[in-house]
């Protein structure tokens, strides 16, 4: 499942835009991002850059006053909810390799069948 700070209208857009069949969850109060220690407030000069150069107003997506984001992250959880693999990098161009995600799920499945 996927989680973002966006309001439900935009998670629906995300699901439809990319034809994503999984749950896309709306963390509109930022509580989960904070619990997972991924939350940060967008610094002023980045906010200005987004507004002035990219025409991107986060409040339109996240709601009023919410210039806040998660560090992009991926976690593979076993049935007990324990993190078995994962990656979180503030550099949003660095993402967990899909092949590593699949390998981590396989490893969990193998353990169960032993």
């Amino acid at each position: 499942m996927a989680i973002s700070p966006e309001l439900p209208d935009n998670t629906l857009t995300m699901a439809e835009k990319h034809a994503i069949p999984i749950d896309i969850l709306s963390d509109a109060m930022s509580e989960v991002m904070k619990k997972y220690r991924l939350w940060f407030a967008v610094p002023g000069e980045v906010k200005e850059l987004y507004l002035q150069k990219f025409g991107l107003n986060l409040e339109k997506y996240n709601g009023a006053g919410r210039w806040e984001l998660p560090v992009p992250a991926t976690y593979v959880l076993d049935r007990g909810g324990i993190v078995r693999a994962g990656e979180a990098d503030p550099d949003y161009t660095v993402r967990m390799e899909p092949a590593e995600i699949v390998a981590a799920i396989r490893k969990i499945a193998e353990k169960r069948s032993m």
Binding site: V83, P98, I105
Partner: protein
């Protein structure tokens, strides 16, 4: 086998012609997030339970999903 995600992202990033001053602001923003201590969960840690609405307005609870099998959780910034 196609390109890895890392290769695909690197190629995309290189194709973007961004002025150095824009790149500098983005880099400082990344450093800021790093220094803010938002380091996420550690391997071996238990993921906190939660319940959030999905794109159809249905509440989804992590622990319910875990009772059916392993879960991949992805935090992303937005549809933009």
């Amino acid at each position: 086998m196609g390109m890895s995600l890392k290769e695909t992202l690197a190629e995309f990033d290189a194709s973007r012609k961004r002025p150095p001053e824009v790149v500098a602001i983005i880099r400082r923003g990344i450093d800021y997030a790093r220094e803010s201590g938002a380091a996420g969960l550690r391997i071996g840690e238990r993921a906190p339970d939660f319940a959030l609405p999905n794109q159809r307005g249905e509440m989804v609870r992590l622990s319910d999903r875990l009772s059916r099998g392993p879960v991949v959780l992805n935090f992303y910034r937005g549809v933009w």
